[in-house]
Amino acid sequence: MNKHHDLHRFNSYSAIWFDEKCYGLVVTKSVNGEEIYRRGTKVVYETDLEVVFACSGELSEKKIKSEVARLGSVYRNILSLNCNNSLMVNTVKNQLVRCSYEAFDNSIEAITKAKTLLNDKRIIIPQEYKQDYQQELDVYHPIENQLPLISGLLMCVLQVKDFL
């Protein structure tokens, strides 16, 4: 757990994605960024994004509650958790202080951004998650084959405002 203690240093982004069958929960943090104070306002330009936690599974409210609760206790500094399902947001909210609902539509913006970042090796995926991510990457399709880990990651990527 200690390796994630610096989540607060730059921004962290997390997201939980649902479809009718399964869910994907992803926590990312920005690394190698640059903090600039401009006229008194902090502007953070980020370069790389690292996946610090990822899990997926069948849709079960009990399982999701326990995962999110665990997440809340481990990653206390998480800024917010974006959720793509307006009905599930209340379930998730009780386990975590800051949780918001954000519609997610597999936008080109997110896919293009993620593709560029993945190609440039600017999304760092730890060894433990690599195999799962690679499997999803090979077959992911924004309409015909949405998959939980990639969708969660895309939702995180969408939250990043200022990439260098």
Partner: protein, 484 residues
Amino acid sequence: MFKVTPNQKQIDKYFTEVNNLKIVPNNWEQFVNLCTIRSGGNMVKFNPYYYQKLISKLMDKYNNIVVVKSRQLGITQVCISKFLHRASLNTAYSAMCFLRNSEDASAVSRRARQMLVGLNEYVVPDSDNVGYLKLKALGELYFKNSSKEGSRSYDSVLDFLFDEVAFSQNMQHIVSASSPSAALSGKLTTKLFISTPSAKNGYFWDLLNADNNCDIEQMCVDVSEGKLYKDIPGLYWFVDKKGTVKLIIHFLAHPIYKQQSNYLEYRLEQDATDEETVQREYNLRFIDSSVSVFESSLVRKNAIGANENYDETAQYYAGLDTATTGNDWTVLPILKYQNNRLSLVHLYRQRKQTADYHLYHIGSLIKQFHIKNIAVEITGGVGQLYLESLSKEFRHINIEAIRTTGDSKPLMISNLQLALEREQFIYPSNSPIIDELLSFRRQGRKLEAATGKHDDVIMGCAFGVTISPLFKERKRGIFGGIQL
């Protein structure tokens, strides 16, 4: 037809007032010191700041000036005062000011009249018209909105002001329609193109970037950060390769605003607006709330194709985007597939014609290019008629119906984007698709052309790309090829 000859008494009456006037100073600074303007809630004598004096000098020396500026710096005021000064010295002077809309035109016209209040011992207005200010026995100024067709039928205009160029859709047409009226004035003409930044496309952006050796956007950032300036911080100008002045004015050049250390935060609170707007309007940032879908570098990189005739070694695909007799275009781009690459080799693009007319020409192209696969958009119903007619006429070719929905449109656009990224889709450098790609944007959750622009060629090509071998066989794995 009869002619009324004015009698001497009338002529004398008209000129008595003029003959008693004082002589207008030749120097602009002395002239504007006599003007009255509204500033900070008071009526004050116009005492120009350094950058305002610079604009006056540049107007005397150069013919074309493009100004990118922060809001509320009094740039329009300077230009109007300069025009008034020139009108006060030359009987034959005529200036034309194009403002964003009619409200702006009347507001600026009122400001010009307000300036004349302090000059009542020197010049007298001879008209009450909001759009036309004539000085008695002297020159004249026109104030027009930018929705009309320029200044056709005006005689020998010397100076032009085009205000808020980035926010007027018609400005390019207005400029081209207006320029001939200054044909005889030659080097005496001054044209000013002024605007706050907007998106990174359109006429103003092109104007600002034309004939430069430098990155104007970066320069704007450097000026706003105080890293780049001439004479005083917040002010920078240079002359481009064609002799046009590019002038960047940031609020740091304003002696009052610059004293406020957190001016942008102050504006944010004052204007009750979002940070993006403040950055754009006051801090010289070219950002737009709607996000460009296609990067301009990508669009230009692929503009290496050419119009071609039929090549029997290649396969041809086409996408049909139909329209009724309105303003939309009926478009059929012909895409040549060779060496795993699509190139736009012919474009049928017509509007305000009957379906029969389109079908006849589309049929000719199908035969000419031996097209085997066509995608026809049937959303809306019009396409269905084309699909049925073409299916009847061309039984041997594969005609695929395509529905554009909230889900399928992003996917087709993303396919097109991927093809561009991989340089697998090229088009001629003069193709209308370039303009459409540059103005195609994401507004909220919708993908569409910017206001006043079209996306018919993009959609036609997207349909063609979708049925082409580039994507037909690769329905899955949009991230295909990426190795972690």
